[in-house]
């Protein structure tokens, strides 16, 4: 084989490899574009997520991963009321359980024991570490009470991870609706890089984070699950703005399901 032939074959091979590689990238991007949505299982509707990120949208690199049902261990339902008949009527608000979490096999709660920060660094009750201690039971000593009004909690997963679900349990002693729930993910702790809003039921934009279209939901023991499609992020931030019973913001547990990138 002449030098010229060998050179041509090398060029062809290189071009072929580049073509194949380009096709692979293209496929991934398409998948990300069409599936960059979230589900809000506690809500009645499934809403497309609004990309309010200032950076670019992450590629959902796990498009080829096979998703499976991940069992989430639910805390005990222990709603209380002032009278027995009220407790009974509370049962009427038992909406159907949310769809199960879909994630690749091996997905775990990445938030477990990870550091938590908040807009209220000194909670009235409890400690921020309770939020990622893996215990979602509605016992008094599990509850973290943040200051009234708009507040957030933030979890640092300590590395970029591929996320499939963010589950939040607020105080589910009572049948209440939390106001202006907004869930965001980002690449940096200050939420300036690649911020994505994956759930927002602040329809009148009273919290100033943009008007959302998701529905409100009653707090129950099954918590509130936002399903993701493998978005990559390191930080998760959850906003609330009091609840229908009082202005306080109570949190028991946040679990972030996914796989390390």
């Amino acid at each position: 084989m002449s030098q010229t032939t060998r050179t041509l074959m090398t060029l062809l091979l290189t071009a072929s490899l580049l073509f194949v590689a380009a096709c692979g990238d293209s496929g991934t991007n398409n998948n990300n574009t069409t599936n960059n949505g979230t589900t809000a299982p506690g809500a009645t509707d499934t809403q497309p997520a609004e990309d309010k990120g200032e950076g670019t949208t992450d590629s959902g690199a796990a498009a080829s991963d096979e998703l499976t049902t991940i069992e989430i261990e639910l805390p005990i339902a222990q709603t209380v009321g002032t009278k027995p008949e009220q407790i009974a009527s509370d049962a009427d608000f038992d909406a159907p359980p949310p769809p199960p979490l879909q994630a690749p096999a091996g997905a775990v709660n990445l938030a477990l024991d990870k550091p938590v920060t908040s807009s209220d660094p000194m909670p009235f009750m409890g400690d921020l570490s309770y939020i990622t201690d893996g215990d979602a039971e509605a016992f008094d000593n599990n509850v973290v009470e943040l200051a009234p009004g708009k507040q957030w909690v933030q979890i640092d997963l300590e590395a970029p991870c591929r996320l499939y679900g963010i589950a939040t349990w607020r105080d589910h002693h009572h049948i209440v609706v939390y106001r202006d729930v907004v869930v965001q993910i980002a690449d940096d702790a200050d939420f300036t890089q690649n911020v994505r809003t994956v759930f927002n039921n602040d329809q009148d934009n009273s919290s100033g984070l943009g008007a959302g279209t998701d529905k409100e939901f009653f707090e129950k023991n099954h918590g509130h699950l936002v399903q993701l499609k493998g978005e990559v992020a390191r930080y998760v931030r959850i906003y609330s703005n009091g609840n229908t019973s009082n202005d306080q913001n109570y949190y028991i547990e946040v679990a972030v399901y996914g796989v390390p990138q």
């Binding site: 009645t44 209380v80 009321g81 002032t82 009220q86 009527s89 509370d90 009427d92 608000f93 038992d94 909406a95 009235f124 009750m125 008094d140 509850v143 009470e145 105080d171 002693h173 009572h174 049948i175 209440v176 609706v177 106001r179 039921n201 329809q203 009148d204 934009n205 008007a211 529905k215 409100e216 009653f218 009091g242 609840n243 229908t244 019973s245 009082n246 202005d247 109570y250």
Partner: protein, 558 residues
Amino acid sequence: MKRQSLFILGFVAVMGLALSLRVGNLGARPMHADEGNNTIIFQELYETGRYIYSPLDHHGPSLYYVTLPFVWMSGAADFNSTDEATYRAVSVACGLLLIAMLWLVCDGLGRPALNMAAALLAVSPAFVFYNRYYIHEPLLLVFNFGLLAAGWRYAMRPHIGWAIVAGLCAGLSFATKETCVILWTAMTLGAVVVWYIERRAAMKAAVPATVGTAVHASSTIINPSHDNTPANALTSRPLPSIDWRHLVAAAVAALVPVVLLFSAFFRHPRGIVDSFLSYFNYAQRAQGAGHEAPWYTYLKLLAYFHRKEEVLRAPIWSEGLILGLAIIGAVVAATGCWLSPMHRRFARFILVYTLFTTAVFAAIPYKTPWNVLPFFQGMILLAGIGVAALMARAALLPRIALAVALAFGLIHLRNQAVLANSERYFASRANPYVYAHTTTDTVRHLVPFVERLAAAAPDNQPFIIQIYCDNAWPLPWYLRRFKHVGYGTQQKLHPRASLILVELSRHDDLAQWQKKLGNDWRNPGSYTLRPNVFLTAFVREELFQAMLNLPADPAAAK
């Protein structure tokens, strides 16, 4: 400084304390359904001069007439511009007047007991809480205690003036709340018991006694040095015999407010008849009407209240100090030990009055926490009597120890009163005096939301609100500025309705309403009117979008 000046100074300080606990941030707590209801009844009287008494619901008219000068003095241009604080100021004034009126029974109570009772009334969380509440009880207590005090004054020195005052107070208390008959019965029973005891004592002493006289030969005046009232310098005066002319004068005086107020100054004469017929209805309602609770509810509420199972960080509440001191006062009153004859007579009267009212309110299945006030006032008077007797009896060091303990007790009560009226607890189920209260959510979220929608509504169309809820009170108060508001579960949906608020009783109500209304309507959120009463909002999409385009300040939008 003379001892008398000290007592007066102490009383003035107590009044100052009472005032400071009652006036701060008076309008902050959301209006209770009953408060809202009272304001709307007042509205008709204020705007039209009409008042129609309903024998089926609500209470007497005196509250609304008494409110008139408060609203006039507030400077409000019209009903819509009145505020919560103006209405609650009526109850604040009643609370202060109730304490000041203790001076009318000073000779019966004694100054130490008077000051102690005044201090307990000033700081009692129950009294402070409901003295900031626009309901009938504070006014009822004023008129009722006016009757009691005038009756006492008459018993000490019969005079037609006191008979007329007593009659007026009786008529006004009748025109305030139907439960006055329980208090009248208690007073009558107290008078009869005191009369009987004194008569028997007189007979035992083998002194000729006739009806209406009493002799107190065996009385022991223990505390002359602590009570220099002229009345106490004497032995007890005999109870007076009945003067029929005075009785007639009192009856006529009682009829005057009944006739004038229930008939709305002769505009609605039927109201006079209805005021008596209402007792048939209230006898029925007393069986419970959804407010049933065990007999010990009130006593438990006052002694120890901790709703830890329902509310996070629920504090422990207790007015046990007053209950404990009242028991001591009751023992002192019953035995008559350590009391002068004059004080003994009053103490026994109050004891019977308190025992009877407590027993009756405990026995009535219908229970709401503001009904503790009538008998708790009696307990506070007994507590004052108990403290005065202990202080008079104790040696110097125990007396100092007792004074210190009482000071701490008063501070504790005062702190609970402050906590009960704080933003955190004034509408919380952790508070023993909160009952089916409107949530802060209504005031902070629902009402501003409605106002913001109204600001976005087109000027050339009426802003129509329809509220599908069994009991929407106090929304008529909060939505008083809107002309087109429909209430009731059976109302037809108006074709041009702008906003619908629906009470949710099941989770699928929401989906059913959304299906019924279609895609032109948006469900932006839900609100809690009272605990476990959820209202969800449906707004026309077009209007909602217009609201989103409003500037942040809705006032600036119009």
